[in-house]
């Protein structure tokens, strides 16, 4: 994966609120998080967006596949497998922390 850029093509500043940014790739299994930002170029975004991986959605890592292969995530009732390099471009926040702030429900 090329260097992470945000959805407007700007390179991601590593210092951008570092405390609150957690990458989806680093979320432990079975911990539900909310997607807040997707640091990827436009073309790469669409396959994810079309499958409901959209800022604001709830994502929960459910299973690592063998030998460091893609990880399976539950997204709005569907199961989606993502490679680590893709998941590390997705910024998330804990669902508990974000409750009432980001959750449209």
């Amino acid at each position: 994966m090329a260097a992470c850029v945000n959805d407007r093509g700007r390179p991601v500043d590593a210092n951008e609120d570092p405390l609150r940014d957690v990458r989806l790739a680093d979320v432990p299994l079975d911990e539900e998080v909310i997607l807040v930002r997707m640091d990827m170029a436009g073309d790469d975004l669409e396959p994810l967006l079309e499958r409901g991986i959209v800022p604001g959605c709830r994502v929960c890592p459910v299973r690592h596949s063998p030998a460091g292969g893609p990880t399976v995530y539950r997204v709005d009732g569907s199961l989606v497998a993502l490679r680590r390099e893709t998941a590390s471009c997705l910024c998330v926040r804990s669902a508990l922390e974000a409750a009432g702030v980001l959750d449209p429900n």
Binding site: D7, E50, G77, A81, T86
Partner: protein, 651 residues
């Protein structure tokens, strides 16, 4: 997003505009298109509506399959077109472009549908409603079908048809397409295409079109478009009292085995072995049976044909030529039977996840694994199966390397040459003999060539940013007999039509070349004097460095039709030349013309060379031009020539 006027309901075929439908008989019928995301149960519904009377073709110029059939209503027939599974209408993939063109009536030779049946999975309603929005916004009369009603109920979810229907302004049907429950609304909708009933209406909500333009008319960033779409989908879900089902227990339990650290790869290996075993061991009796049927029917036919050139053309040209392809049909059907079960059950996506790490290393994706596995049976179905690879560059790379996998047509050639030139000696005690080791080596050589070529391609011609691997894992489901049968019929047709045509042409051409010039007393000339023999002699200087003479040259030319044809050709050549009643065994004859070096060279040549016109033909279709097949053929020929030369020089 463009919207268009809702087309009025057509009564008895007053379709406007020139009708260029390929099927004239159906020109007057109302046409309905099935649209929806993958794994939403679209094909099950399509099979349920049309039975097995389906037609599969390609959309002109592209490789997207067009599945169509018809449904009988009380008022008349309705044409049903099954569009490919899509995640939206953006021109990101070929499937989405074709779907959009068909729905808008822009597809070549196909008027737009009169109505759309939008098939969504009720258990994943909110994410599927996101896909639904741009389709409903086209303004076509629509029916929304929510499938998997049974699963939704079982997993304690719920949705009300009426709530969603009121929000969308179109009819909504909650169905279980497998068991055929809840299909009455679909029936009424299809009937209303004839009666002009109020069931057929377009979604009046065209909010999507406006919502996607930001302030001052600038288009919104794509993330915002989808975020807005998701918010609307959730609002719709709430209005429809949608309650998301609990995660499927069955899927969780099976995934904990199939994606398990240890068990997962073991199951994967077991699946690979079973598929492999089935296409070789279990298919053999069926293939032998087919061969016997072809031979017997050929004899039966031969007796009834006049003993002239016609008999020779029909039996030696057409019958044997086409027979050489048909014999692979059982193997291909068995292969697709397994692939069908793997795909319909949901395991295929897990296999892709398991294989992804391995395939990623050579620059391919997990989805490429099963097409490449299929290529051990035959490259033709493998190239067709590569359609499941979403990324275009990866798909091209997959179909480019598929012919390197040792297809079963190479086996008869290897078997003959190994038996003739490799003495049987134990290498690893009773486990591995020298002959098996050579055969395994030939398989390995092909595999290495495929992997190496893929790696080279992805670093050169098909270089590009690796696209993110986003693999949806559908819930596990029991495959239905109907969908498996439909798939098998469909694949059998595609294989026979595509491979059959080219083999027929080549077989007839070879027969003609072997007949001219006619011998003085009439009848075919000795092979050496025929046009075919002349061709062998023309290429002899080129293949001499490999240790081949003109006879092998003829074999190489005829094997262009299909690799195993060389065995028959060599038999004929040596048989014809040998005046003695007790003709030499083919193996012995070969031993006189080839030494160990040139025999190994011939095997190596067959590992690499693209001696298969069916593959070339399918390749041309699947890549939409001659560029790729010509490149592939030249590359493989060059590789074959150089390695064969090396083998001959070294041994």
């Amino acid at each position: 997003m463009t919207s268009r006027e809702a087309s009025p309901v057509l009564l008895g075929g007053t379709r406007s505009g020139p009708d260029t439908s390929p099927d004239r008989a159906s020109a007057a019928r109302p046409r309905v298109a099935l649209v929806g995301p993958p794994n939403a149960g679209k094909s099950t519904l399509f099979n349920r509506l049309t039975g097995l009377r389906q037609k599969v073709a390609n959309y002109p110029g592209v490789t997207v399959e067009r599945k169509s059939g018809f449904h009988r209503t009380a008022y008349g027939l309705v044409d049903v077109v099954d569009l490919p599974g899509i995640h939206g209408l953006s021109p990101r993939s070929l499937d989405q472009i074709v779907t959009r063109d068909v729905l808008l009536g822009h597809a070549e030779g196909e008027p737009g549908p009169d109505a759309v049946i939008l098939v969504l999975d009720a258990t994943r309603l909110e994410s599927h409603l996101m896909v639904a929005e741009p389709i409903l916004a086209l303004g076509l009369p629509s029916l929304v079908v929510l499938t998997m009603a049974d699963e939704l109920g079982r997993r304690k979810g719920q949705v009300t048809e009426r709530g969603l229907s009121e929000q969308l302004g179109v009819e909504v049907a909650l169905v279980n397409a497998r068991a055929g429950q809840g299909l009455e609304k679909i029936e009424r909708f299809l009937e209303a295409l004839y009666t002009g009933g109020e069931e057929v209406r377009a979604c009046p909500v065209v909010v999507a079109a406006e919502a996607e333009v930001g302030p001052r008319g600038r288009p919104l960033p794509v993330v915002d478009v989808f975020a807005a779409r998701r918010a609307r989908a959730q609002a719709l879900g709430q209005a429809a009292h949608f309650q998301a089902p609990t995660p499927s227990k069955l899927t969780e339990r099976l995934d904990s085995v199939f994606l398990h650290r240890v068990l997962g790869p073991l199951c994967f290996l077991a699946v690979v072995v079973v598929v492999f075993q089935s296409i070789f061991a279990w298919a053999t009796p069926l293939m032998d049976g087919t061969e016997a049927v072809i031979a017997t029917s050929g004899e039966w036919l031969a007796v009834r044909l006049p003993d002239t050139w016609i008999r020779s053309l029909v039996i030696d040209g057409v019958w044997l030529g086409v027979g050489s392809v048909v014999v692979f049909l059982p193997q291909i059907l068995i292969l697709f039977f397994f692939l069908g079960i793997l795909e319909d059950s949901g395991y295929m996506a897990r296999a892709a996840v398991i294989a992804d790490r391995m395939m990623h290393r050579v620059g391919l994706q997990g989805q490429s694994f099963l097409p490449l596995l299929s290529a051990y049976a035959c490259a033709v179905p493998a190239i067709l199966a590569a359609r499941t690879v979403e990324d275009e560059r990866d798909r091209l790379a997959t179909i480019f390397v598929a012919p390197f996998m040792t297809c079963s047509a190479r086996l008869p050639v290897y078997a003959l040459l190994i038996a003739a030139f490799i003495p049987e000696r134990p290498l690893l005690g009773p486990v591995l003999g020298q002959r098996s080791a050579v055969l395994l080596g030939l398989y390995a050589l092909g595999f290495l060539a495929a992997v190496g070529t893929a790696a080279i391609l992805k670093r050169s011609l098909l270089r590009g940013k690796p696209s993110p691997f986003v693999m949806e894992l559908p819930p596990y489901r029991l495959p239905t007999v109907k969908s498996i049968v439909a798939r098998l019929l469909d694949r059998a047709r595609v294989f026979l039509r595509r491979a059959g045509r080219i083999i027929l042409a080549v077989a007839v051409a070879l027969w003609v070349l072997a007949q001219i010039p006619q011998a003085p007393g009439g009848g075919p000339p000795p092979v050496a004097d025929s046009a075919l023999g002349a061709m062998g002699k023309v290429i002899e200087p080129v293949i001499e460095p490999l240790g081949f003479d003109w006879r092998i040259g003829i074999g190489l030319v005829t094997s262009l039709a299909a690799r195993e044809v060389i065995v028959g050709t060599l038999g004929t050549i040596y048989g014809v030349e040998d005046e003695d009643e007790t003709s030499l065994e083919l193996q012995e004859a070969l031993r006189q013309d080839l030494d160990l070096g040139s025999a190994v060279a011939l095997m190596v040549f067959f590992v690499f060379a693209l001696q298969c016109m069916s593959t070339v033909a399918v390749m041309r279709r699947e890549t939409g031009g001659w560029r790729w097949p010509i490149l592939q053929f030249s590359y493989m020929l060059l590789l074959a020539y150089v390695t064969a030369w090396g083998a001959n020089a070294l041994l």
